[in-house]
């Protein structure tokens, strides 16, 4: 069985082609390509512009994917697309493309929940059987565990997603959005040494990030670390990184931009690891799987690894090819559903901004 997956719930458009061999052996990735809409430093991606980007790229990417996979249209069994959750306009443009291909080629459609896509891809790549899942990205922050045919949400953010918190702080500091704001924060944080006091907000299994963002934005403003000017200076100072490191030796000195990134990461990741650990203790699981764009952050993976080791378990994480939104994860989850007979009739092949992980009936697991 061969399926095409189309993803475009945020600023990435991805097309992937998966093969599920008939004999039931491990599924194979035939093609996984993606194009990212990058907005200028200091700005986020707007739905309108992102949708335009997706519309411009979708046909090209599908063609390219088919070529890379060496698959002809006849061999394709189904077209899987992201039904939600995500940004409205980008989701719509991909749903329209999926419907168009379905009519053009006479293939059946499978609407996929984006979060379930992440989980299924993570499980496939890492081989984790029944892990507690931490799903962290620009739009979602959830701790999920599987129980009786549902991916149940144990804890989640009460306001903004952790990736959104990092991205918006990157905007405050005018850190480039290329390849990703979170990635650039991670690199800058490596030079940070001094831990700045930030709020630490865990409510039971849930957490909250908007207050932390406001606090660190305020700190950046009061230390005069935000804005374009400082970003330029920082870029110039990169060559003199050694000098900056010396400056940091003094613990009481004024925090640097790197220190703020460092402190933000340390604080929010500690919160995430804490709620994940609580979920693991509660369900008695020793495996933890990190998925979503923020999951490619190596500091988060490291912290999670230490926590899992101390519990006698292990952490499963994937790299940016599978962590960050992509088409194959949609194909993977869609084909699992397709295999159990799930279809999305053309009439219902719409998209929705609100689609909770626990709404999906997971028929393919027991």
């Amino acid at each position: 069985m061969i399926g095409i997956g189309m993803e475009g719930s945020a600023n990435k458009i991805g097309v992937g082609i998966m093969l599920h061999p008939e004999d039931g052996s491990t599924p194979q990735v035939l093609a996984n390509i993606r194009h990212t809409y990058v907005s200028p430093p200091g700005e986020g991606f707007l739905p309108k512009d992102t949708a335009r980007h997706h519309r411009a790229w979708v046909v090209k990417l599908v063609k390219e994917a088919l070529k890379e996979a060496r698959v002809s249209v006849d061999q394709v069994d189904c077209i899987c697309f992201t039904k939600g959750p995500g940004m409205g306009a980008p989701l719509q443009s991909v749903a329209v493309a999926a419907r168009m291909l379905s009519l053009l080629w006479g293939k059946e459609l499978v609407g996929v929940n984006h979060c379930v896509g992440h989980i299924e891809m993570g499980r496939l790549i890492t081989g984790a059987t029944n892990p507690v899942v931490l799903y962290v990205s620009g739009g979602n922050t959830q701790v999920i565990a599987y129980s009786s045919q549902r991916y149940r949400i144990f804890g989640e953010t009460l306001d903004i997603a952790v990736g959104n918190c990092l991205d918006r702080f990157a905007r405050t500091l005018h850190i480039p959005n290329d390849p990703a704001p979170g990635y650039n924060i991670e690199q800058l944080a490596k030079q940070g040494k001094q831990l700045v006091d930030l709020p630490y907000v865990v409510k039971g299994m849930d957490c909250s990030f908007s207050g932390i963002l406001a606090a660190i934005d305020g700190l950046a403003a009061s230390w005069g670390l935000g804005g374009e000017e400082r970003a330029r200076e920082d870029a110039q100072a990169q060559n003199a990184a050694a000098a900056a490191a010396d400056q940091n030796q003094d613990q009481d000195s004024k925090p640097t931009r790197a220190d703020l990134c460092f402190s933000l990461q340390e604080t929010v990741f500690s919160m995430l690891v804490e709620i994940t650990e609580r979920a693991m203790a509660h369900v008695g699981s020793k495996q933890v799987l990190i998925v979503g764009g923020v999951g490619s952050n190596e500091r988060l993976q490291e912290m999670m690894g230490i926590m899992a080791r101390d519990r006698g378990g292990s952490v499963y994480a994937t790299d940016e090819r599978f962590c960050i939104d992509n088409g194959i994860m949609i194909a993977q989850a869609g084909m699992l559903a397709y295999g159990t007979g799930f279809r999305t009739p053309l009439k219902e092949a719409t998209c929705t901004q609100r689609f909770r992980t626990d709404e999906v009936f997971v028929q393919w697991r027991d």
């Binding site: 939600g84 959750p85 979602n140 565990a145 129980s147 009786s148 149940r152 949400i153 144990f154 989640e156 953010t157 009460l158 997603a161 831990l195 630490y200 865990v202 409510k203 039971g204 299994m205 849930d206 340390e266 604080t267 500690s270 690891v273 804490e274 650990e277 609580r278 693991m280 203790a281 509660h282 369900v283 490291e302 912290m303 999670m304 230490i306 926590m307 080791r309 101390d310 519990r311 006698g312 292990s314 901004q353 609100r354 689609f355 909770r356 709404e359």
Partner: protein, 275 residues
């Protein structure tokens, strides 16, 4: 994978006889069974080891804050007559007697003999699943009524807690105990009248507790429990209204808290906006 070793015990627990036995590794702390002063007096020792994944400064701040907060809340609740384990001793500085310090903190509490509600409910759900077919409607109703009664008593206990001005912060069925209930999971569950669900409810693990009398905090407390029951005991989920009823009758502020609970339920991201 690296071999797992539980963290070493702080002094003075390194040389007590018999040595403390590890009961559970919670998310935040390890709980040991040990003795207080006299080997005949059992006690629960809660150790919050330092969390190596966290930045040392942040770790210190959180560990210290939480153990002190926990002891304060327990102390207050004992005074108010709420059913919680009493505080026997604590160390928040984390020296463990040594100068160097081990970064953690510990709290010694009164021993509660019994099982956690999670085990009790799991036992009941398993039993129901097994015997569902052979039950007649009357028996079935009786079984469900005893589960409801348990949840109602839980609600009343939580009400007493809130009335005393304390928020638990992490209410799950693992943090509620049934005093006197057999701990053993294999214990016979064939009692027809659900006798295994009798006993006093004791609240434990105040690691995330805080002091507040606001409806918002109280409602979030209840919501956390509601979700925990939904995700761990799907069969008992429909009985949550019994818990709400028990809570409603517990203190005067309860109705307004429950009203707030309705609002809290509507939060969370990406909920369907129908209705």
């Amino acid at each position: 994978m690296a071999e797992y070793k539980p963290p070493t015990l702080p002094s003075p627990f390194t040389n007590t006889t018999p040595p403390p036995t590890l009961l559970t590794q919670g998310a935040e702390a390890h709980v040991y069974k040990t003795a207080s002063l006299d080997p005949a007096i059992p006690a629960a020792l809660k150790i919050r080891p330092s969390k190596p994944y966290r930045h040392p400064i942040l770790d210190r701040r959180l560990t210290r804050q939480r153990i002190i907060q926990e002891a304060r809340c327990l102390f207050k609740l004992i005074k108010e007559g709420v059913s919680v384990p009493g505080v026997l001793a604590l160390d928040w500085e984390g020296h463990g007697g040594a100068e160097s310090g081990w970064g953690g903190a510990w709290l010694l509490m009164e021993w509660v003999e019994g099982a956690v509600v999670r085990v009790v409910l799991e036992r009941w759900e398993a039993w129901m699943k097994q015997n569902e077919a052979s039950l007649n409607p009357v028996q079935r109703e009786r079984e469900e009524a005893s589960a409801r009664a348990l949840l109602k008593r839980m609600g009343a206990t939580i009400g007493a807690l809130h009335k005393a001005g304390v928020i638990h912060g992490d209410l799950t069925t693992s943090n509620l105990m049934l005093r006197g209930s057999p701990q053993d999971n294999t214990a016979t569950t064939t009692t027809e009248n659900g006798a295994s669900m009798k006993g006093d409810i004791v609240l434990i693990d105040f690691g995330l507790a805080s002091q507040s009398v606001q409806d918002e905090d109280r409602a979030v407390d209840l919501y956390v429990l509601e979700r925990a029951i939904g995700s761990t005991h799907p069969r008992s989920e429909p009985f949550f209204d019994a818990l709400v009823q028990g809570y409603r009758e517990s203190h005067r502020g309860a109705p307004s808290t429950l009203k707030r609970l309705e609002d809290v339920r509507m939060r969370g991201r990406k909920r369907s906006m129908i209705g």
